[in-house]
Amino acid sequence: MLQGRETVKTGGAIITALFLLPRFCAGEGPFFVTYTHRMEEPRNLEMAIQNVTGSPAGGNRFLGTAVELEYGVTGWWTSGFYLDWQSTRGESAFPTGYRWENRFRLLPREHWINPVLYVEFENLNEADRSLLAVVGRDGAEDLAEPVGEARHEKEREFEAKLILSSYYKGWTISENLIAAKNIRREPYEFGYAAGVSRPLALRARAERCNLCPENIQAGMEVYGGLGTHAAFGLHNTSHYVAPTVAWTLANGTTFKVSPGFGITDTSVRRLWRFSVSYEITQFGRAARQLFRGGRP
């Protein structure tokens, strides 16, 4: 009985910790595809839902969703787990698999250009529509394939990215070089993403506010495929230009939206991305306290 009470007490303590201590997810970039060298702070947990919708030529409108849990293991190592889902109009909706990503900061201090190594394993099927990266000759044709058929094709892939990013006078500038390899077949595929963003104000206001200009970031990202190692280049690849905006509320919830414009014949003409995320600061500490039976 006493043990039960203790569990209830520590459970209450951790719930309090989760919703009172953590408040903010500040400074998160407005990008959907481009990564910067900003790592998750140690022991923080970020939860996010990212969505993308588009209507490929010859196919039905789709909605790709990725539910993300990202954790700061250390100051130089961030790990993330994604569960993907798709829904296609007139066809069906089902989960499409998972991804596990790890980012490693390579240099301890801030420099003009800061490299981060990204390594991801994904176990998805071809019906996946989350479009978190574009590589090789990914294009509208793949997205037009009926999901009922595509779901039977497995896509187990390793993906690596070299993230190079900088902060300069309030601007965030980032470039990502991407290489992906299906573990069973198919050649190495390449892609890129690059983005630039800035908060609307560089100084913070003294008052707690939702509509402070420093809470809103605007930017632009470009991303696309670069072919394969056998046929490297831009021929028959898809590319997107996407203005993007992020707005962080005073309670820590961040909303992002981005219309993407396909600029080649193989691209989907328009993609709409939107996401909501929330960061729990010091989640790891609170969880450890729970298991040790102490107060957070």
Binding site: F24, W76, E110, A206, E207
Partner: protein
């Protein structure tokens, strides 16, 4: 024995924090705070501190776990440039994250708060 160990741990934390500030290159440490004495900046810095730093260093800068206490004279008397450098670079070794993603003006606002009115002298 436990008291001795915690005293040693505290000493290590204080030395660690001092060490981080002391690692700031002379040129960076000598940079002046453009917002020094600006009351609006100090209040904005307090807001930013609550948002970015309080989860680890405590709402009243009292320190928590391995995050050292900031309400102490060594921090108040630190060169503003050294505090700014520590915020920009962090310390991967001690787990202090980099706050380079914050615009420079916001980092100076936090420095203004850390060294401003209400800080221990």
């Amino acid at each position: 024995m436990r008291a001795v160990l915690s005293a040693l741990a505290c000493a290590a934390l204080v030395l660690g924090q001092g060490g981080l500030l002391q690692r700031a290159p002379a040129k960076a440490a000598s940079a002046g705070n453009p917002l020094e004495g600006d009351e609006q900046a100090r209040r904005a810095g307090a807001k930013l501190y609550a948002r970015e730093c309080a989860a680890c260093h405590g709402e009243n800068r009292e320190g928590r776990g391995s995050a050292p206490k900031l309400a102490r004279p060594e921090v108040f008397h630190a060169m503003p440039g050294a505090l700014f450098w520590a915020l920009r670079n962090g310390s991967l070794r001690t787990g202090m994250p980099s706050f380079a993603h914050l615009p420079e003006a916001q980092r100076w606002q936090i420095v203004t708060f850390l060294r401003g009115e209400g800080a221990p002298r």
